[in-house]
Every structure is written in C-alpha cells, then in structure tokens.
Amino acid sequence: MTFRFESFADALSAQAALQAAYPVGSPVEPALEALIGMGAQCKRVGASRVSCRYVESPQALAGWCWHVALEGSANGIERVRIALATTGV
C-alpha cells in the first residue's frame, strides 16, 4: 500500500484516503510505517498518540506541509487527524 500526500490538495481528502487505507481498528504500525516510509518525521507525543509531519518540498521556500496525528491503543487505530498548511519561510 502506498500513500502519497502529493496526490491531495486538502486535508479532508487526504484524511479520507488514509482512513480508507488504514481504517479505525486496524493496527497502528502499518500506518506509521507507511508515513515514515514516505519521508514523514514522526514522534510519540503521548501514551497513545504519534505526531507526524511531512514537508513535500523541503528545498523549496514555500510549499505544502502536512501534519498527522495517529491515536491508537491495543485495539488499533482510534483516530486519525490531518491538517494541511501552506508553509513558507
């Protein structure tokens, strides 16, 4: 399963696609691996929450920056949240 933020122009669309690929209740690890595999920087920010950030064009002076929060438990993914910002220097 490959997931590319570059296919989407808004957070709602990307979140729907990510949730379709990794639905609530499915294991957290594959979703996390996919995000890391595409170049996202991920960091655990709580007992059950991982925060990931994906900058599309890190060498550009302005571009899309995606922010993802994956919340999960032993029962798998409980919530996915995505925000999108146009980030520039």
């Binding site: 122009a9 808004d10 729907a16 900058v55 064009s57 920056c65 910002a85």
Partner: protein, 180 residues
C-alpha cells in the same frame, strides 16, 4: 484565551544549500495548559503545486483561483489550537519565551490585533522577501516585543525590518542568516 505564556517557535522545515531553514510562529499557553498558535503563511501556492491533485470536490484545478497579488497571494495570518495533527505542530520546535503572566495576556492580545491589521494591508507574499518569518517578526516589532531567535536557527526573512524594502536585483540573497 487568557495566555500565561507566549513563545516564539522555530520549526525546522527544510534545507537550502545544505543549511536547515526554520519556519517561525507564535504559541500561547493558557492556565490550563491549552496552547494556541498564531502564524503567517502564503495565501496560496503556485498553480504547479495544485496540478494533478484531488480535493474533496474532485480535481483541485477546477476550483483554483489565481490571486491578483501573485503566485503566493498575500500574507495571511491564522490562529487556532496548537495540538498534534494541527497546523504547525512540532514537538521538537525550538522555543524562546517572550512573555509570561500579565505581560503575556497583553502581548497575545496585541499580537492578534497586529495580525489583523497587517493582514488587512494585503501585502504580497514573497518567499525571498516579505515572507512568513518576516511577518512573524514584524508582529513582534509592532508590539514592541524583544524578539531574539533561538540560537543557531536560520530563519530567512526574519531580520528584515518593515522599513527595509525587499531586494529586487537579479542576485537577491535568499534570506538573512540570524545566528544568536
């Protein structure tokens, strides 16, 4: 929100010429620990950043509207909850305390007002001139806040005061290195 602390944040976003550049924004914390951000950014991105993408209505190009201010539109400000999965959230961003206690309440309110006023000026966004870092520091300058960047963080645009026009020669510098 009633801020008890206001901080300047520097988040590493990318590399230019092998040097890490940082995106600046502001964060306020209230008495309950809730955080809010205030940030600047381009109103839009160039057409090539949209082509081939899908939004919730289908092809993103169909709803694309070019800004008369240029490919990046004008500088826009936004403020919302600072939390995981939200805009600009970076748990490892460098932070510099700007104010606390009563001073934080006043500064946060002043920053919000300054953002509103600066936004109304409809300043065209220039990635190598008046950009998000410039706007963030300009808000602080408008509010009379002392704004020192975190040590050894390069934030292009942050050092240019409003009175200094952006360079327009063919050999413009990408930004101004700020090393404290």
């Amino acid at each position: 929100m009633s801020a008890v602390r206001v901080e300047l944040m520097a988040s590493a976003v990318g590399k230019i010429g092998g040097v890490v550049w940082h995106h600046l924004f502001l964060v306020a914390v209230d008495g309950s620990g809730n955080q809010s951000f205030l940030r600047a950014g381009p109103q839009c991105l160039p057409l090539e950043s949209i082509a081939g993408r899908q939004d919730q209505f289908g092809d993103a190009l169909e709803t694309y509207e070019a800004s008369p201010a240029g490919p990046y539109g004008v500088i826009t400000f936004s403020s919302a909850t600072y939390e995981a999965g939200g805009v600009d959230f970076d748990p490892v961003a460098a932070n510099v305390p700007l104010a606390s206690g009563e001073a934080a309440v006043k500064l946060w309110e002043a920053l919000q007002n300054a953002a509103k006023a600066l936004g109304q000026e409809q300043i065209p966004y220039d990635p190598i001139g008046r950009n998000a870092n410039w706007a963030c520091m300009e808000l602080l300058r408008c509010c009379g806040a002392k704004a020192a960047l975190p040590p050894k963080r390069w934030a292009p645009g942050a050092g240019r005061p409003a009175s200094e026009p952006a360079p327009h020669s063919a050999t413009r510098r990408v930004g101004q290195a700020i090393v404290m």
